[in-house]
Symmetry: C2
Amino acid sequence: MVRKTKEEAEQTRKEIIESARAVFHQCGVSRSTLEKIAKEAGVTRGAIYWHFKDKAELFFAMREDVFAPMVERTDSLLLSDDFANPLDAIEASLKEFFRVLDDCPVVREVFEIMISRCEYVDEFSAVQEEAGRPAYEFLEKMERIYRKAADKGMLRQGLDPTAIARDTWAFTSGLLHLMLGCQKGSDLDKQIPAMISTHMALRRRA
Amino acid sequence: MVRKTKEEAEQTRKEIIESARAVFHQCGVSRSTLEKIAKEAGVTRGAIYWHFKDKAELFFAMREDVFAPMVERTDSLLLSDDFANPLDAIEASLKEFFRVLDDCPVVREVFEIMISRCEYVDEFSAVQEEAGRPAYEFLEKMERIYRKAADKGMLRQGLDPTAIARDTWAFTSGLLHLMLGCQKGSDLDKQIPAMISTHMALRRRA
DNA sequence: CTATTTACATACATTCATGAATGTTTATAA
DNA sequence: TTATAAACATTCATGAATGTATGTAAATAG
């Protein structure tokens, strides 16, 4: 039985991506053979080669599925007008980001793959650059919002918006890596909201 | 010409490690074949198998060569008695860490390999755990020193040593990852000392 | 209704990469 | 001085993994 309908084909495409995520997460990207992924998805390598040019393209597709919604989600909080204090927008956005990471296994797995189960060389160095752009955009957003907070007088005296934006930038990156890196026996997950609160409290007006 | 003297053998061992670092950095660990590494070192795979059980063991050796001196170096500053203010010890230690990373290519390459050119699965998941321990020890040290600073009255009012230790922990991890990840065209390197100063200034008594 | 694609499965050729086995000198210990 | 073992080089067998080429049945366009 071959030649499925268009919707069925789209479904197998999704199943291949799901399987790729599972196998990537378990074996690491380089040790994940297309045969394993195909078997996990209940298809043959032929199906994968039909939908994707090679493993790299499959990897990109898997990543994009998760990244875009994530950025949109956090940005909507970051740029929301519902917060009188811009610092509250930052705090809410950061907490939302890590909350999703904490209780959405799909998202978490993709981030774990990207952080500790992929080697960024050759075809994959492009991924690293693409992941670097959102990071820099995050920095710019932080700077803008901290400046707005300063204008509104919500920032603690003597703080430079650019400088503390960089501090928040590094803090967020580090939190992400620590959460996904040293997960095992640690109860870090539960302390993250408090850590974010502490971080923001450092820059609130007394 | 075979059967070198003991010192010569030790020398080729070191050359193998050097070559492994170069090849790991260029190709990523999984795509680094022992043949490539051997050729780079001017030996054959036989030599590598003589000195190391397999690629993983070679990887561990390469890592250990760089890590231990690094921890010792930063710890000596961190636990030094030369600083009247414990916060100065932290600041000096962090700056020293990133200074070495910045102008010692060997150290930088090893960290880059560990962060973005290695997949932490199977044999290598042990590496991640070993790298996680120093991270937790760093957290504990931070906590102790911040507490000491609090006792001496050098800490800004209302700050909890444990909480800001975690903040510094995440900050440092993030700085490391940002520095090694998004290196390319950014001038991040030059801003790192200022970022550390800013970070510490946030917790100094006004 | 049939011609053409689509959406795969199957088969094949080729290319590494590994680990072990074995060979070969030569330092070194006795 | 010689036996032993160190420090490699060479060779071999084997097992993936990849990409491509080809087969094929069913959906769909006309």
